[in-house]
Symmetry: C2
């Protein structure tokens, strides 16, 4: 293996794959990045057994391929080295199965590598029946739903995002059993076989980071029995799936509501934010919303610290009172991309629904908290 | 106590004094900010017993004083409240000795306060014989010396910055006994009585943060037996001093050197930085510098990881070899404000000196490390 590559190109690719590097480092070789150089391209792979990221750099003026071959290099060191080099181009050459030389005009690194024969085999074959979706749309889905999943491993299915298709409708939902987020999007092309899978939410967060700089292109979702491979740009991102049956979230959403209230999202968010200042240290940051005489009030109190009252005039003749977690409300409000948010109330001990003011694609749901 | 104040003015002042708030919170009342409203101004004070910060806001269009008085308010909550209010102005009113009302048109916070009678008395009287120095100059002093002090409380005098005057020369030094930084500046006016004090380095770091936005004005250093009060803008910053005798650092600096080497600071810094990549996990990040045949080489190696060699052409006919801590070298190089740095070598087991290329005001010193 011997090649010369533009430093920034390699650095970007290393930054991408390194998101799969295990910091826990249970299997030593998984702290390495696998370099595989063919006659046409350089492939980099990293994996923590939970997710795998592979990226490609094609032969070009930025990548001169002198000799193909492969080796595994400790991710931490190769990243640091490439980042800190001042030169535009860098040479990488395998000396033997466990030695690699990285050099520029004035810098020379002799690194211990590991033979690729020790790297676990990872199958990244794609399917022919896959979902294609615009990257921005897909990022929006993750943003608007993934926050609502659970971090409690006791009920492992809830630690993931449920994706299911019914014809050309893709339904994505997450719930921790106290709140829920449900987003429906229309697919351009339906799958031959409908799917119903659960992707670990933390892996989707990693995928989201990889997608930050990707815009205006499509991402392909290739779904298998126990894994999903996402393909975009020059990247393959693989995640395991969670086994189990996801609860039918559609049934949890009330069909009928008492009344709707449309308010400015930013103003309402700030009211909730301020109302929770005095109890933001505690898990249960309970605040109370009250509507009366065309006035919406949000209050909260702590015997030790004091109390808050926030007011807003609203065009609503109802008399209503409900308590809920300010954190859950704020997290749900952050997913609303319209200036106004529509709050739907079902009853004083029933869920609150949140929707964007222009569409019904996204539903946020928060259970109330009983206060006595 | 009753007043109306422009939100941003109050927020800035709260941000300033809150740097003295104790996060450890040993004495509960010290988690509070003391509000004292006179007929002319609002005074805010916070202290953690180690440092005290006091700031003033004068009566103006931005501060309407309705009724003088005073109360102590929990720092964390008042800061959060003021930061999160959307309004331009905020009203603050003491209801009784332990209740304060903070309100705008639509927001109302009833906070539990504490009577000022419980706040420890803090004497912030100034002296008439004080040092006056330009804030930028003073920030530079802190930047160029304070990093070299020790964090080891076992030898407490070394955890501070030593300031001493001899006529109109102010000499500032810090050392952890493995390296040293010494800066001399000329004062415009000499003190009636020379001083020789030790200011805790961590308190100077807090002071530095307060000074970040302060430019082109003077700071006054009022020095007492056991404390220093720094006055600038509308702020008084008080720190305790460390008792004890500071070692005479001037004696530690070699008078004669073998040879000097002038190199580009950025290039040299980057070489050292790269040479330490492979051993930056360990405390002793030892690298070796070698000069031979007009070539400067920096090398380091780790049996487990590999080795690095960095090269630079230099105009120097010496043959020389020395090992030292890359971290210490990089920290010293960061204080050099000229494009070139002058390295002075005294011997292969003697200290290395660093100076700016245009002046002798700053001396950095690093002890070598013996390698066998």
């Amino acid at each position: 293996m011997k090649f010369k590559i533009k430093k920034n190109i390699l650095l970007d690719a290393l930054n991408d794959v390194s998101k799969a590097l295990s910091s826990k480092n249970i299997i030593p070789i998984l702290s390495g990045i696998k370099f595989n150089l063919t006659k046409e391209k350089l492939e980099l792979t990293a994996s923590d057994n939970d997710i795998t990221i592979k990226t490609f750099i094609e032969k070009s003026d930025d990548l001169e391929i002198i000799d193909s071959g492969s080796i595994v290099i400790k991710g931490k060191y190769i990243l640091d080295i490439i980042r800190k080099l001042d030169d535009d181009f860098v040479n990488i050459e395998k000396l033997d199965d466990s030695k690699v030389l990285i050099y520029t005009e004035n810098s020379e690194f002799n690194l211990n590598g590991i033979s690729v024969s020790e790297y676990p085999p990872i199958d990244l074959e794609l399917t022919t029946d896959f979902i294609t979706i615009n990257v921005n749309k897909f990022k929006e889905i993750i943003n608007q739903t993934n926050y609502a999943s659970s971090t409690d491993e006791a009920r492992v299915v809830l630690t993931g995002l449920n994706l299911k298709t019914e014809g050309n409708i893709l339904e994505c939902s997450a719930t921790d059993s106290y709140r829920l987020a449900l987003k429906k999007v229309q697919l351009e092309k339906k799958l031959e076989n409908d799917i119903n899978i659960i992707i670990p939410s933390k892996n989707l967060s990693e995928l989201y980071k990889l997608l930050t700089e990707t815009v205006d292109e499509n991402i392909e979702l290739h779904i298998f029995n126990n894994k999903i491979i996402c393909r975009f740009s020059n990247i393959l991102f693989q995640s395991r799936l969670i086994n189990g049956t996801y609860p039918n979230t559609t049934n949890l959403i009330p069909k009928e509501t008492l009344f709707d209230l449309k308010v400015n999202k930013r103003d309402f968010y700030n009211m909730v934010d301020r109302a929770s200042i005095l109890n933001n240290d505690r898990d249960n940051n309970v605040i109370t919303l009250e509507i009366n005489n065309k006035m919406l009030k949000i209050t909260s109190m702590s015997l030790e610290i004091g109390k808050v009252e926030e007011k807003m005039n609203v065009d609503c003749d109802e008399k209503f009172k409900i308590s809920f977690s300010s954190r859950y409300m704020m997290e749900a409000l952050r997913t609303i991309n319209t200036n106004d948010v529509v709050l739907s109330f079902v009853g004083e001990v029933k869920p609150i629904l949140l929707k964007e003011s222009t569409n019904e694609d996204l539903i946020g749901l928060i259970l109330p908290i009983r206060t006595y």
